[in-house]
């Protein structure tokens, strides 16, 4: 090496040369030695027995890798975008918490280290009872002013700590932030710490929408064990306290996005023009206040060759009927007459799924076929048992154990490829307000589920969706809920 080269530092992040060795997704401590490949201790430890928990409120670990993450960096920051604080703005009952959670879900899925900071949580932690005056952005009493200031300081401290000590890249700060001078002050403090600030103001100018949203908001943790009517009345009082001193955003020098009627209208002021900011706006364009549930059902025969596409056999027909009956029964138990007329059914373009959906089409439901939903291509690994794989592709087998989410067997797709392919459909699901039944291969369900439940990509390949169950995920403001519905009368 000549002297000119001396000043070149070894790249801190291994290039694709080392990526090819499949260790780019792993922390240094778990990087296997090139030659010690068969050390049993090094094998990937299957994760904890899977429970249906929405992991969106779990803080992400130092080495968390997300489903759609294209690459990782030592600093944990992607796209050279630096640190960003997204500050929610808006009176109560404008879906701020809901929005902050779903945005966090999307950003984490993209691979950005994002965390939520709800002022409400901090308040609940500090004190049980607060006077109404507290909710007024400009309270009159000194006591209320002091409490407000204290809580805000705590939140800002947490946000900065996340950037400085936890390798955070995006903090989402959820509070009313209804006073212009306070917003300017907040932006100033954060900018002093090299944090970019983007305000998202959620507004509603449709009274009906507001009414239904107040009813939803009155189910928040503040109103556990309350009578529903009383909770709504109390919440309305809170809304009116804020309304009288609330100042809408028009600070020309700040970057803000007005998000009106949950994405119907958007106004962007001083767009920051970096990849992440525009990606956030992109998400906002697609985001709706989600209602309803997504159901997932497996197609009947999963042992088929990837390339073959035979029609449904008699057993498959029967299976289709059973899924149909299970769905009808489930809706009836929820108090519906039968399947709702706006239930959409999504399938892949494989006959095993399209023909399975025929029974839903027959009763007049909308069935759409999505080529993106074709299962993960297993490539040359198709149909091989673990032992055979070990024999035939020893090196690949080892890599696969280390990182089953990103590793591709020869000619195969990996889960990561599938996740990127499914992004448009994930966006589309975000736009829908009716129920959807997804009929697909297990690999596709794993990826959808991983997004909706904020699973880590080390868990996704191990998620189990047996053919004997329909999995239901219900959208909820605070966290999504997954339940399993048994398909009755199936012969194992």
């Amino acid at each position: 090496m000549s002297e000119d080269l001396a000043e070149i530092e070894e790249p801190k992040i291994p290039g694709n040369y080392s990526a090819r060795r499949q260790n780019r997704w792993l922390p240094p401590s778990s990087r296997g030695d090139e030659n010690g490949a068969n050390d049993e201790n090094e094998r990937h430890v299957p994760p904890h027995v899977h429970e249906d928990v929405d992991e969106i409120h779990r803080t992400v670990s130092r080495f968390h890798v997300s489903p759609a993450q294209l690459y990782s960096t030592d600093s944990g920051k992607l796209y050279h975008a630096g640190c960003i604080c997204i500050v929610l703005v808006g009176p109560p009952a404008r879906g701020k918490t809901n929005l902050s959670i779903s945005l966090c879900r999307y950003l984490r899925w993209l691979g950005v280290r994002a965390n939520l900071f709800h002022l409400g949580d901090i308040r609940r932690e500090k004190t049980k009872h607060v006077p109404f005056e507290f909710f007024d952005p400009k309270p009159e009493s000194e006591e209320a002013k002091r409490v407000r200031q204290e809580l805000t300081d705590l939140a800002v401290r947490d946000v900065l700590n996340f950037f400085q000590n936890d390798m955070g890249q995006i903090a989402i700060y959820d509070a009313v932030n209804g006073v212009s001078s306070q917003r300017r002050e907040l932006a100033h403090v954060l900018q002093q710490h090299d944090v970019k600030v983007i305000f998202i103001e959620s507004l509603i100018d449709d009274p009906k929408l507001l009414e239904s949203n107040i009813a939803d908001a009155a189910k928040s943790p503040d109103y556990i064990n309350w009578d529903a009517e009383e909770a709504i009345a109390d919440y309305k009082k809170r809304v009116s306290v804020v309304a009288h001193s609330y100042e809408e955003m028009d600070e020309e020098e700040l970057t803000y996005i007005k998000f009106i009627n949950f994405g119907e209208k958007l106004l962007v002021n001083r767009s920051k023009h970096d990849f992440l900011t525009t990606k956030i706006i992109f998400y906002l364009m697609n985001s709706k206040i989600k209602k309803g549930s997504i159901y997932f059902a497996r197609c009947s025969n999963n042992k088929l060759n990837f390339k073959s596409d035979p029609p449904l056999d008699a057993k498959g027909q029967e299976y289709a009927r059973k899924i149909f009956d299970t769905m009808v029964k489930h809706y009836q138990e929820q108090g519906h007459e039968g399947l709702p007329a706006d239930l959409q059914v999504w399938t892949s373009v494989r006959l095993r799924t399209t023909q399975l959906a025929q029974v839903f089409k027959d009763v007049g439901l909308t069935v759409t076929h999505r080529p993106e939903m074709t299962q993960l291509n297993p490539g040359d690994a198709h149909g091989l048992t673990d032992e055979e794989l070990k024999e035939k592709f020893p090196e690949d087998y080892h890599r696969h154990q280390l990182d089953p989410y990103h590793h591709r067997y020869p000619r195969a797709d990996c889960y990561h490829d599938l996740a990127l392919k499914l992004e448009p459909l994930i966006m589309e699901i975000e736009r829908l307000t009716n129920d959807v039944l997804v009929i697909a291969d297990e690999t596709v369900i794993q990826v959808f589920y991983g997004y909706l439940m904020a699973s880590s990509c080390s868990d996704i390949p191990f998620l189990k969706f047996p053919q004997s169950e329909v999995t239901k995920i219900t959208y909820n403001a605070y966290m999504n809920k997954a339940t399993r519905i048994k398909i009755e009368g199936l012969q194992e």
């Binding site: 992040i13 993106e372 966006m427």
Partner: protein, 451 residues
């Protein structure tokens, strides 16, 4: 299968309808959208309303043609608009077009309502895109650009275009009704105010529309250059091996030194230039003598050749004969065992393209396959062609994105290097004999000598 298969691709068709006064960058934005969506494998085309005017008014009509009181020309202009829309629908029906861009002015509410109606009647979703600008400096610089690139003013003196366009703008201004959230709240529209200082987005109804809006938000229309270079010749290049993370060869190091002089001589505002490299040694070594701020992007790393990494093409042909043939057959889609395809590279380059659209002064030092993808984006090259493009070593490439296309200039450093170009059907390396694979534009051989 396209990279971003648009959901409902079978039944979702969008027509982007441009709205705005002349010299608001409408044609520029139109062509950009085509470039971006085509790059992502979505079939897109521009329909320029003025080209549907009757023959004698097609080229260089005088400004009086746009006088709102000129009844005859009004009829001609309306007819042109309708003919263009008919063609949009025909193209969508017969050639399975997915996104059309109607590049006209559509300055009145009445006209926009009519356009929306016709499109909806034909199951095409209208998405209006208004470029609103009252900043005179921006308008003026747009006019100068139109003057030098638009076919309407070919061969005319600069003053002529300015005068003519200003008169045209005056005529249009008399009946211009900007889009608003009151009367047109039911239309899907994107409104850009003074380029991007404010953006209003109304009723985006589909993923595809949101994708278009997302892209437009990243655009700016300030004139600029984008500078590209491959890394200097590496040890692996000398040995004919692909991939790896090798150091520069002696000649490669020479190029790295000369690059500093080339940048000084040819890049205006080179003190404000930002340099992007991949995370591989050879690009960082190439950038090492440049005094400019540097960013390393993982996304700029070379196409991952998987199991073939570190092999020569001859070795690949020998060890993986089927793969070798499959790759030649469809180079865009072919994915190396355990590695990447060109399509995969485009996927990971998207953030880079978005950032490049944002930036004003960047030099990107990266690798052959990655440069092919970036070049394909700016030159709008088709997928079957772009992986075969010959991108020479030791050459500084200048791209100048303009309203009607991108100008390319190659500045040769005059330092010899091996060829890393592999023609279809052979494992031998050597520059392409096929002129279709040679980059467009002018070639300058630099006379900058090593100090």
């Amino acid at each position: 299968m396209p990279l971003y298969t648009v959901s409902h691709v079978d039944n979702l068709r969008v027509c982007v309808v441009m709205v705005g006064l002349p010299a608001r960058g409408k044609s520029f934005i139109s062509h950009k959208i085509v470039r971006y969506l085509s790059w992502l494998s979505i079939k897109t085309r521009v329909f320029n309303v003025s080209s549907y005017r009757r023959e004698e008014y097609r080229e260089q009509p005088s400004a009086d043609f746009f006088n709102p009181n000129n009844e005859e020309s009004k009829v001609i202009r309306e007819q042109a608009n309708i003919d263009a829309i008919k063609d949009v629908i025909k193209w969508m029906n017969e050639e399975e077009g997915c996104v059309a861009i109607l590049d006209g002015s559509n300055v009145t509410k009445r006209k926009r309502a009519m356009v929306a109606q016709i499109l909806r009647d034909n199951r095409v979703e209208p998405l209006f895109l208004e470029s609103f600008c009252d900043d005179e400096a921006i308008v003026k610089s747009n006019i100068m650009d139109i003057n030098s690139t638009s076919p309407d003013y070919a061969g005319k003196p600069p003053g002529y275009a300015l005068e003519d366009i200003l008169t045209k703008i005056k005529y249009y201004e008399t009946h211009y009704e900007p889009m608003d959230l009151v009367d047109e709240k039911e239309l899907s529209f994107i409104k850009l105010i003074n380029v991007n200082s404010q953006i209003i987005i109304n009723k985006i109804e589909s993923y595809l529309e949101s994708r278009i809006a997302y892209y437009i938000m990243n655009l700016h229309i300030k004139p600029r250059y984008i500078w590209l270079s491959r890394h200097g010749e590496s040890q692996y290049n000398l040995e004919g091996k692909i991939g790896g993370d090798a150091d520069l060869s002696e000649r490669g190091m020479k190029y790295a030194r000369r690059l500093k002089d080339l940048v000084q001589k040819y890049v205006p505002n080179h003190d404000k230039l930002e340099v992007w490299t991949s995370t591989l040694r050879r690009t960082q070594q190439t950038a090492q003598f440049l005094p400019n701020p540097k960013k390393q992007w993982k996304a700029l790393d070379e196409l991952d050749a998987g199991s073939c990494d570190g092999l020569t093409y001859e070795e690949i042909a020998q060890r993986f004969p089927e793969d070798f043939a499959a790759r030649d057959e469809n180079k865009f889609e072919y994915r190396y065992r355990g590695g990447e395809s060109y399509r995969d590279v485009i996927q990971r380059l998207e953030p880079i393209i978005m950032e490049l659209e944002n930036q004003e002064n960047v030099l990107v030092i990266t690798h052959q396959a990655v440069l092919r993808c970036i070049y394909a984006y700016f030159m709008n090259s088709p997928q079957e062609k772009s992986p075969w493009m010959s991108i020479p070593l030791h050459t500084l490439i200048r791209l100048e994105p303009r309203a009607y296309g991108t100008n390319v200039t190659r500045i040769k450093a005059n330092i010899p290097a091996v060829s890393t170009y592999k023609e279809k059907g052979t494992s031998k390396l050597g520059e392409s004999q096929n002129s279709a694979h040679v980059m467009a534009g002018e070639v300058i051989t630099s006379d900058v000598a090593n100090q």
